[in-house]
Amino acid sequence: MTENKKEYRDESQEEITGANTNTNKKTLKSKVKFAAEVVLMIIIGFLTFYPLIIFGSNFLL
């Protein structure tokens, strides 16, 4: 295990930089995806609770 780690650390600096760029892209993509999911959840949540709240508030009058 320790040997393997050492091997990874011995990779060229160029390869490491390329990997970092890919990781950054992936991170950005996942952040956007997460934000989109949150917005979608808010919209769906609103549309789900809107009729329930309106009907419920009249029912409870």
Partner: protein
């Protein structure tokens, strides 16, 4: 447990959770969210422009606004008479269209029916009971109010209560259930008059100020509806009743019996016989929430002194909450326009309007819609000094709600008055083929 097994277990668990969430979304959340987006659409949909031929001299205004008290925001089910030099209007006042046991019937008075002139003069309640569909009638100076109590969350009234005032709507008797004399004909040919409740009276009228007639819907032979919902008056029949005092009503004849019906309104023809309209939920395949192509209006004409009847069907609307009135020996109606003909007549999710019609012997002729949307119609009419005054209720007219939206989700409604010239209405009806 090995690390691999644990990972497999967690992956499996994650998959189950994911599938469960998807199933819940598909079955429960997405239909509600879709309905929510439809509500939003109803909120932003603009009403149509209402334009009227100048010949009608059309005017309309608000008589009673929805107000700020949400417990009384739904004003509905109107009727109106002219009595002792004043207009009297009655309407139901509730939180919404559905059952409201704290609801009441409100009577308002005005000298000239103009904006701001209406003053509340009386309120009628039945403890812990939803009350609706009030009808006025002046019988020998005694003012009766007939109305329908409702004990179902989704309203399906199946009996009539009445109260009366001997002092011009100042005080009222305690409301009582009305029992009427119905003729039962048995298979061996014998007949029996049975005093029974369970009949919904609509609007009594008289041709001579001696005898009053009313069409009432219900079930014969003890088949009185119970507390279960009435499925849009399925299997009800309508009979013609007469009375000379407003207390004692007796069957004259069976009017429309073929398909379940109700809200039957009558007026008198020049020959003294009756012309009538019946709201029929379905003349064939059943259908309620999503409508049916077989919903419509029956037009009934009596003969032989109200004892025989012939009928025509009209599928362009189901004339809910109608009032019939006569001008120059021609019959007109103000009632609900379902914007048909359509294959889903009565669809809860469709738009409806209040409209003027001419009622011919074999069909209705749509004249024009009144500014209205959502939950609307249930009209009252007074003809006075060359003008027709028609009161009705509607969701606020800056919207264009579907009926279902206006009855329970955004149930603010107001009472409005439309006024047209009698000569203008006759000329307008002539101009669009309503003329005889």
């Amino acid at each position: 447990m090995s690390e691999k097994t644990t990972l497999e277990f967690l992956a499996k668990k994650k998959k189950i959770v994911k599938i469960t969430v998807i199933v819940i979304y598909i079955i429960l959340i997405s239909p509600i969210a879709f309905f929510g987006s439809w509500l939003v659409f109803n909120q932003i949909r603009s009403p149509p422009d209402y334009n009227y031929d100048p010949i009608l001299q059309f005017q309309d205004w608000t008589v009673v606004d929805a107000g700020n008290n949400r417990s009384e925001q739904h004003k509905s089910n109107t009727d109106m008479i002219f009595y002792n030099n004043s207009f009297y209007l009655i309407h139901a006042q509730t939180k919404w269209h559905l059952q409201d046991t704290k609801g009441s019937l409100v009577i308002r008075k005005s000298r000239d029916a103009t904006v701001g002139s209406w003053k509340e003069v009386a309120k009628i309640n039945v403890p812990d009971t939803d009350v609706r569909d009030p009808k006025f009638v002046d019988i020998h100076g005694r003012l009766f109010v007939y109305f329908l109590p409702n004990w179902n969350f989704d309203p399906g009234p199946n009996t009539t209560y009445y109260t009366y005032s001997d002092d011009g709507f100042q005080t009222f008797s305690t409301p009582k259930e009305l029992e009427v004399n119905i003729t039962y004909t048995y298979s061996n040919g014998t007949k029996e008059d049975v005093l029974t409740a369970g009949w919904n009276l609509w609007r009594p009228k008289t041709p001579d100020n001696i005898t009053w007639y009313v069409l009432a819907s219900g079930r014969k032979y003890g088949n009185v509806a119970d507390s279960s919902h009435d499925e849009d008056v399925a299997n009800t029949i309508t009979v013609l009743l007469s009375s000379m005092d407003g207390f004692h009503w007796k069957e004259v004849s069976e009017a429309y019996t073929r398909f379940g019906n109700g809200e039957a309104c009558l007026d008198f023809l020049p020959n003294g016989e009756i012309i009538s309209t019946y709201r029929v939920g379905s003349m064939g395949l059943p259908g309620y929430a999503f409508g049916t192509p077989h919903g419509g209006t029956i037009i009934g004409i009596s003969s032989d002194n109200f004892t025989k009847w012939c009928f025509s069907s009209d599928f362009q609307t189901r004339l809910d909450g109608a009032t019939l009135f006569t001008l120059n020996n021609r019959t007109f109606a103000v009632g609900r326009n379902h914007l048909g003909p359509r294959d889903d007549m009565g669809n809860h999710f469709a738009k409806k309007r209040t409209a003027f019609y001419e009622v011919l012997n074999d069909r209705l002729v749509l004249l024009f819609d009144l500014p209205s949307n959502g939950d609307t119609a249930y009209t009252g009419v007074v003809v006075k000094d060359g003008s027709v005054y028609a009161c009705y209720y509607t969701n606020l007219i800056n919207h264009d709600y579907a009926w279902f939206v206006g009855l329970a989700f955004f149930p603010k409604t107001e009472i409005r008055m439309a006024k047209v010239s009698v000569t203008g209405l006759l000329a307008f009806a002539d101009s669009i083929e309503g003329g005889n």
